[in-house]
């Protein structure tokens, strides 16, 4: 109450002051810096809250009287004060201190000048972040700084992303960085990532990017060491906006984005659904003839152009399908005569333009002893996939800070987020979109997907599902019709999240400040998966599943900070503190299948099935951890910087506590250089730090679970049917597990040169993670099949470069470039003799951990090779399969880079951001399978044999014969690649996958923006303080050797398994218009 009173009082006083000094006159002027007029400079009358800002041309005006002091401040510039004299004009020149005051935010959420920082941390400003046009904050970080790799799950609305700082460290432990917002760790869980299902969100994307002031990426162990256990994958520190001093300001941003699919798979349009005749005994084995066959998965049928072109011959009778959307009637086809190819209409049934509308309002005000920032935002996205693909997010934030007493401040940041989303099934999933859509034969029209099937006795089946695998809809088809997938199947998701973060700062003795923070991050995530009766394959009986996730993350953190000058030359800054964190997640899972009442419409209830067809489950995860820490920063002779930190913590998942030291040294060698040197600032730094990854919870004890006995062939006894016998789990718990300890040193330099026009940061790091937790197989005769142990060793070494350059800087024109480069070499040094550990993927192709190779290495079947590396050929000249599976690719890039450029000319700003990833492999699983089914354009080539050619199955195609397929050569004679080859090892279901691992290097124009900032003459007329209109393109150009999909997505989402594509929902590009104004 007192706060409010103070606030009101201050406002009142300001008002009184305003009227009682009526002799104020209008003072105006131009504020400039060395390069010309400076827009956006804050001008406040000292001792009041009266203030204004310069317009784009550097001009301002303010009411003041002689003797008043005006304070001119600008982000990154030195603040200056000027006294109002007799003149009505008061010009000011800001000292270009622009780069000198660049700040980074430390792991404890304390701002620090970049020049004083000894880590390799880099900061991304909010403008850069939001300009990206990405709807997700994480995606917005991509390419903006070195050492950070972001990979999207898919292009679906709201879909999350994988964050990798430097390289992967752990096999079983956490893989994602710690996220700290305003000094408080928050959740970035992403529950669920498999080869099938829907793409899930990342909780970090819940934040409205407009609320963010800056994001600092702490890459090194030394910078993160103060968080100890849990900080081994780096830390992302986010500061949200505060109420600005000066006046009430309202900033509105309104954005409309039109999204479209950015890369699509091509489908052949020459051959129809069907199979070679000899498969059905139609002709002898040597014939290459093929015919239309209904409902077959294959498009190895007849040549469409050779059909008569007449309507299909059908049997008109009772047996038929009547579409409930178009009224069309489909009868059994006796002869396929139609030549129509439906690739385009089938495509347009699924894909369209997505529309995203993003509105946000931020209100910032300050009244003497308090400042407040309030924001509201609404993001409404409809995806490029028609039907049930959307994401709507509403956010509210209130950041309030008040000085209760001179030495006592209270800050209270709080937010509420509400998300509604609909997702589309993807991946290795007979109910998935791409699987059904891409496999659809070119000559099959998917338009009629739902209707009524009548059998020969005219008995109807309602809500029948028609697809190319069952064109009469007489039974649930094996693959879904995409129309069914996007319209009838539903996968809604609703998230509600609160964060509450109070903080007090109390300078209880002069120069001793206590900061105490509490953070509460609570969310519920309700997910449903609904397959109506007649959904594809096994779900034709109907299936409904529901998952509710409740997560609560609480943190307490308190520290005391003091700054002491020991001598004139030695300054010490000391922090000591303690933390406690508590994480609780509860999942409730329920499902029912085999619906009793098939006419469910929108009603989804778990009881719509027999009791035996219902499932129930809970999964609870709890961890807690306390720690003490200390940080000592010393500045010696204003030249040498020393930072020492130590943390002791103990986690509930561990028996013993751990100590994490770190030490950093820096030398500002530029202090020795004279002012005429081209080097304006130079610092070298070296640091060492330790951080840890704790084991997953509950590995400490062996569990006992309901047993049962089921053979690998599928027959067996269910425990529930026999009184629920219990069995000791084959995985032996290990109470002695320790942390995985990451030790890292880094050396680097930060330089500014040529009148501060160039700044350069270079860092080399070398990190080693030992005691990496691994499940080791044990002989079943020991009574256990696996034991969990601290066993593996993983290293990451790399180089990071950030370069900023102001190429042109004059009155009207500025041109800046920002570039970054990162190289990381990841090696699994020791896996204790285990050949490989599966991370994600399939039996045939997977992403694994393999000794001597990088984490997430692609693994699968290979062709056999002789000692010279040549294929071992069979008698027909085709390569044979190696006896064992092995490494077939590395999804980790050799290097990644970003290049941003900004040109400002008067009110116009043109900016572009390029991003590249080089040397990363990707498994093109979809392509392989499209070859198998005869959909891939390569399979529709027609070739005339120049000589007798052998086929994979040993037939001979005589010279001069035209056949469907291609000529291949594996080191022996030329061979004919016909359907037999694509159905075997030339396709995605063969015994090898090495030919489907391809170099997926890419470079893209991630974003390009043209913005215009209206001059003061216009904004004054409109009654606004600023007005900016911009047009952007996101992801407009992609250069890559990969066909059919954007390699910047990953089937298994944020899992450790990388570089997999298998009917993954596609990525997007966007055209964006943004209007920003303030008053």
């Amino acid at each position: 109450m007192k706060t409010k009173f103070n606030g009101i009082l201050t406002l009142f006083l300001a008002f009184v002051v305003h009227i009682s000094f009526a002799q104020d006159r209008t003072i105006s002027g131009t504020v400039s810096d060395e390069s010309g007029p400076l827009p956006g400079v804050n001008i406040v009358k000292k001792g009041t809250s009266v203030g204004t800002e310069t317009d784009f041309y550097g001009k301002y005006s303010i009411k003041a009287k002689t003797g008043d002091i005006l304070i001119f401040s600008f982000v990154g510039s030195k603040t200056i004060e000027k006294t109002v004299g007799s003149s009505n004009t008061l010009n000011a020149t800001m000292t270009s201190d622009n780069v000198l005051d660049e700040v980074v935010v430390t792991a404890l959420g304390i701002e620090k000048k970049k020049d004083e920082d000894l880590s390799s941390s880099t900061t991304v400003k909010t403008e850069v972040l939001t300009k990206s046009g990405e709807t997700g904050l994480i995606q917005g970080l991509a390419g903006k700084t070195s050492g950070l790799k972001i990979t999207r799950n898919t292009g679906d609305p709201g879909s999350g992303a994988f964050i990798q700082i430097r390289g992967q460290n752990s096999i079983n432990g956490a893989s994602q960085p710690l996220i700290i917002i305003d000094g408080i760790p928050v959740s970035n869980s992403s529950v669920g990532s498999g080869t099938a299902g829907v793409a899930q969100q990342s909780r970090l994307n819940d934040i409205n990017a407009e609320d963010i002031a800056n994001v600092t990426v702490l890459k090194g162990a030394s910078a993160a060491a103060v968080w100890g256990t849990g900080a081994a994958n780096g830390v992302i520190v986010i500061q949200t906006k505060k109420g600005k001093a000066g006046k009430v300001s309202v900033n509105v941003k309104s954005q409309i984005s039109i999204d479209e699919i950015n890369v699509e798979f091509e489908k052949q349009n020459k051959f129809g659904q069907g199979v070679p005749d000899w498969w059905n005994g139609g002709t002898d084995y040597s014939s290459t003839a093929a015919s239309w066959v209904a409902n077959t998965p294959f498009s190895w049928g007849d040549k469409i152009s050779l059909r008569s072109g007449a309507p299909n011959a059908v049997t008109v009778g009772n047996n038929r399908f009547v579409s409930s959307t178009t009224g069309n009637i489909h009868y059994p086809i006796t002869s396929k005569n139609d030549r129509t190819v439906y690739n385009d209409s089938n495509r347009n049934q699924v894909f369209g333009n997505g529309l995203t509308v993003n509105n946000s309002v931020g209100v910032s005000f300050s009244s003497g002893k308090s400042n407040t920032f309030v924001s509201f935002s609404n993001l409404d996205q409809n995806g490029i996939i028609k039907g049930q693909s959307s994401y709507e997010r509403n956010t509210i934030r209130l950041n309030h800070e008040v000085e209760l007493k001179e030495n006592f401040k209270l800050r209270f940041n709080t937010s509420y987020i509400n998300i509604d989303s609909d997702r589309i099934q993807q991946g290795s999933n007979l109910q998935g979109l791409y699987l059904g859509y891409l496999r659809t034969a070119p000559d099959f029209d998917n338009t009629d997907y739902i209707g009524t099937y009548y059998n020969t006795n005219n008995v109807p089946t309602f809500n029948s599902h028609r697809s190319y695998r069952n064109y009469l809809g007489s039974a649930p088809p094996t693959y879904g019709n995409p129309g069914w997938t996007i319209n009838e199947q539903e996968n809604p998701n609703k998230v509600e999240r609160f964060t509450v973060a109070p903080q007090i700062t109390w300078e209880f003795i002069d120069n001793y400040t206590l900061t105490a923070r509490y953070g509460l991050d609570y969310f519920t995530d309700h997910r449903e998966t609904f397959f109506p009766v007649n959904s594809p394959a096994g779900l034709g009986i109907g299936s409904f599943g529901q998952t509710d996730i409740f997560e609560k993350f609480q943190t307490y953190n308190a520290f005391i900070q003091t700054n002491q000058d020991l001598t004139d030359d030695i300054n010490l800054d000391v922090i000591v503190g303690a933390t406690f964190e508590q994480f609780k997640q509860r999942r409730f899972l329920a499902g029912s299948t085999n619906f009793s009442n098939p006419i469910v419409g929108d009603v989804r209830i778990l009881t719509n099935s027999a009791v035996a067809d219902r499932t129930l489950g809970t999964l609870i995860t709890e961890t807690a951890k306390y720690g003490y820490y200390g940080v000592l920063n010393a500045t010696l002779y204003d030249q040498f910087l020393v930072e020492l930190s130590g943390r002791y913590d103990k986690s509930s998942t561990l028996k013993e506590g751990n100590f994490y030291p770190s030490a950093s040294l820096g030398w500002k060698f530029s202090k020795l250089l004279d002012d005429s040197s081209f080097i304006n600032f130079g610092k070298v730094r070296v640091s060492y730090g330790e951080v840890g990854i704790e084991p997953s919870p509950y590995l400490n004890a062996t569990t006992f679970d309901p047993g049962g006995a089921v053979s690998t062939w599928g027959d067996g006894f269910a425990a529930a049917a026999y009184g629920n016998p219990f069995t000791r789990n084959g995985l032996k718990g290990n109470p002695d597990l320790t942390i995985e300890k990451v030790r890292e040193y880094e050396v680097g330099t930060d330089l500014r040169m040529w009148d501060n026009r160039i700044n350069l940061g270079v860092t080399y790091y070398n990190r080693k993670n030992t005691d990496v937790i691994l499940n080791l197989n044990s002989a079943p005769s020991t009574g256990f099949t696996q034991t969990v142990q601290n066993a593996a060793v993983i290293t990451n070494k790399g180089l990071e470069i950030d370069l900023g350059a102001t190429i042109i800087r004059n009155e009207n024109l500025t041109w800046k470039i920002d570039a970054n480069f990162s190289q990381n070499k990841n090696v699994v040094e020791d896996l204790k003799g285990v050949e490989s550990v599966f991370l994600a993927g399939f039996t045939g192709t997977s992403s694994r951990v393999v000794e001597g190779h990088a984490m997430a290495t692609l693994w699968g079947g290979r062709f056999a090779r002789d000692n010279n590396g040549a294929y071992v050929l069979d008698s027909n000249g085709f390569p044979t399969i190696a006896a064992t599976e092995g490494v077939i690719g590395d999804p980790n890039p050799d290097w990644i880079g970003g290049l941003g450029t900004t040109v400002q000319y008067k009110g116009f700003t043109l900016s572009a951001q390029f991003e590249t990833s080089q040397g990363n492999d990707h498994w093109t699983g979809t392509e392989g399978v499209l070859k198998f089914f005869g959909i891939h354009p390569e399979t529709a080539n027609e070739t005339t044999a120049p000589a007798d050619l052998r086929t994979f199955d040993g037939r001979t195609i005589p010279a001069g014969t035209t056949f469907r397929g291609n000529i291949g050569n594996f080191g022996g004679n030329d061979v004919a690649l016909t359907e037999e080859w694509y159905l075997a090892n030339g396709g995605g279901f063969g015994s090898q996958s090495e030919t489907f691992v391809q170099d997926a290097s890419w470079t893209r124009l991630r974003e390009v923006t043209l913005a215009y900032s209206f001059p003061k003459s216009v904004t004054d007329q409109l009654g606004v303080s600023n007005l900016e209109l911009s047009l952007s393109g996101r992801n407009l150009v992609l250069w890559t050797g990969i066909e059919g999909f954007d390699p910047d997505i990953n089937l298994t989402g944020p899992s450790r398994g990388r570089g997999l594509d298998y009917f993954t929902n596609p990525a997007t590009r966007s055209y964006i218009a943004t209007l920003k104004f303030g008053f």
């Binding site: 303690a578 709890e622 103990k650 509930s652 027959d715 026999y722 009184g723 219990f726 069995t727 099949t785």
Partner: protein, 436 residues
């Protein structure tokens, strides 16, 4: 400065409590213990699975009761087997004994002698089958992971001998408890006492060890009527259906047949003459088979709810018959065989004439009757190998050079790759030591 220290002290005392994290890592999702009877039940489920699932199907593809007719089963039918094919059954045996031993420990702690006894019987059954199938197996060092992370292998004979003691101890603990009276339901049903079951198992494993006098003595103490058969219970509900039915109807239709040809089917339909002419075999054939399929129809031997024997009166009586004959008591042997035939006549309501044969003829008649009567039983596979195929089961895939049926299950891949004391791969045609 004092104030600083005070506040810091206050802070640290608030947080220094280990209580804050105490117990947080206690698993809320899974139990870390379970009661003895539930663990015992799991070992029983595994014993049932070993008797009725893949090992039973594969054994009797080898004995030519069945034919592997589709996909991987064609490979198995050609005796092409790999180590990894046996991971599942091997792991199950040791998991089963693990639960039985845990159950026993708890039973000892609570003084529940009967439960302890049944646990010992299950342990013996599982180890007995493992020794019979694989030969030498880890026994003395098995299931003691902390002392022996790489258990050594014990000789087949010593394991078979050790389980006789286990069964003796089991018999001394179970008192007069019947299977139906305790620890049998809901998995097994039998009116026999557990002691009788144990004696029957003793007879079975003495027979495997070729100790015929002891086998005879124990068989006489074993199951003495059909109502005492220990039957694995099934019902037409999820997870409770007959395993042959699940495999043949629900999971892998067409993989397992009696087509092209099956020695068992040939014997029953007369294509191959019986040593002892049996008109009732036509009734028996229609119970067993339905064309080239196993009979999964209601009332078929492999019907959805048909129970399946773990050990039966027929088995015990035919052990008795064989051992009497081998002991030179042809008359007693005939009596035992004819008792089975009489019972079969009743069961199938058909003619199963008595045997009057003697000597080797009688022995072969006994073994052939056992081959037919114990359809799907592992014991048939043990018998064929033990007797060096005395009844002349045809060898499959002879064009590939096969001269005998596989003499053992292969050691599993999981053991090959994870046990440092693994003695080495043994080929499938090498007899187990006891049959050598």
């Amino acid at each position: 400065m004092k104030k600083v220290l005070l506040i810091f002290l206050a802070l640290t005392t608030i947080y220094s409590c280990d209580d804050l994290i105490e117990g947080v890592n206690d698993n809320p999702n899974s139990f870390t213990d379970a009661p003895a009877h539930l663990l015992l039940a799991q070992s029983e489920l595994i014993a049932a699975k070993i008797s009725e699932s893949q090992s039973s199907r594969l054994s009797n593809i080898f004995t030519d009761q069945f034919t592997g007719a589709d996909r991987q089963y064609i490979t198995l039918n050609n005796y092409t087997i790999t180590s990894a094919d046996f991971d599942d059954d091997w792991s199950d045996v040791y998991a089963g004994v693990t639960q039985a031993r845990l159950a026993r420990e708890k039973a000892i702690a609570t003084g529940d002698a009967a439960l302890e006894g049944v646990s010992l019987i299950m342990e013996a059954l599982l180890f007995g089958e493992a020794a019979a199938l694989w030969g030498d197996i880890p026994y003395t060092e098995a299931l003691r992971p902390d002392e022996f992370p790489d258990p050594k292998y014990d000789g087949q004979a010593s394991v078979l001998s050790a389980i006789q003691s286990t069964l003796d101890e089991g018999i001394s603990k179970v008192g007069s408890l019947t299977v139906n009276g305790g620890y049998g339901a809901p998995i097994f049903s039998s009116s026999a006492s557990w002691a009788k079951v144990a004696h029957s198992l003793k007879a079975r494993y003495y027979l495997v060890a070729k100790n015929y006098p002891m086998a005879l003595a124990e068989a006489k103490l074993g199951l003495s009527s059909k109502s005492e058969d220990v039957m694995i219970q099934h019902a037409n509900e999820a997870g409770k259906r007959n395993l042959y039915y699940q495999f043949g109807v629900e999971q892998r239709e067409g993989y397992l047949q009696v087509s092209g040809p099956s020695h068992l089917k040939n014997l029953l339909d007369g294509s191959t003459p019986r040593l002892l002419a049996t008109p009732g075999d036509s009734e028996r054939a229609s119970k067993y088979f339905n064309g080239v399929q196993l009979n999964y129809t209601p009332n078929g031997y492999f019907a959805v709810d048909a129970s399946f024997p773990l050990i039966s009166y027929y088995e015990v009586k035919l052990i008795e018959a064989e051992c009497e004959q081998r002991g030179g008591q042809d008359g007693n042997a005939q009596t035992a065989l004819n008792a089975v035939r009489t019972e079969l006549a009743t069961e199938y309501m058909a003619s199963f004439p008595s045997s009057t044969a003697t000597g080797q003829d009688l022995l072969r008649q006994i073994l052939e009757e056992k081959y037919i009567t114990l359809i799907g039983s592992l014991q048939v596979y043990h018998d064929v190998r033990r007797t060096q195929n005395l009844i002349g089961v045809p060898v499959k895939n002879t064009s590939a050079g096969n001269t005998v049926i596989p003499q053992r299950f292969l050691y599993p891949q999981v053991e090959v790759s994870a046990n440092k004391n693994f003695p080495g791969v043994v080929d499938r045609f090498v007899p187990t030591p006891i049959n050598n």
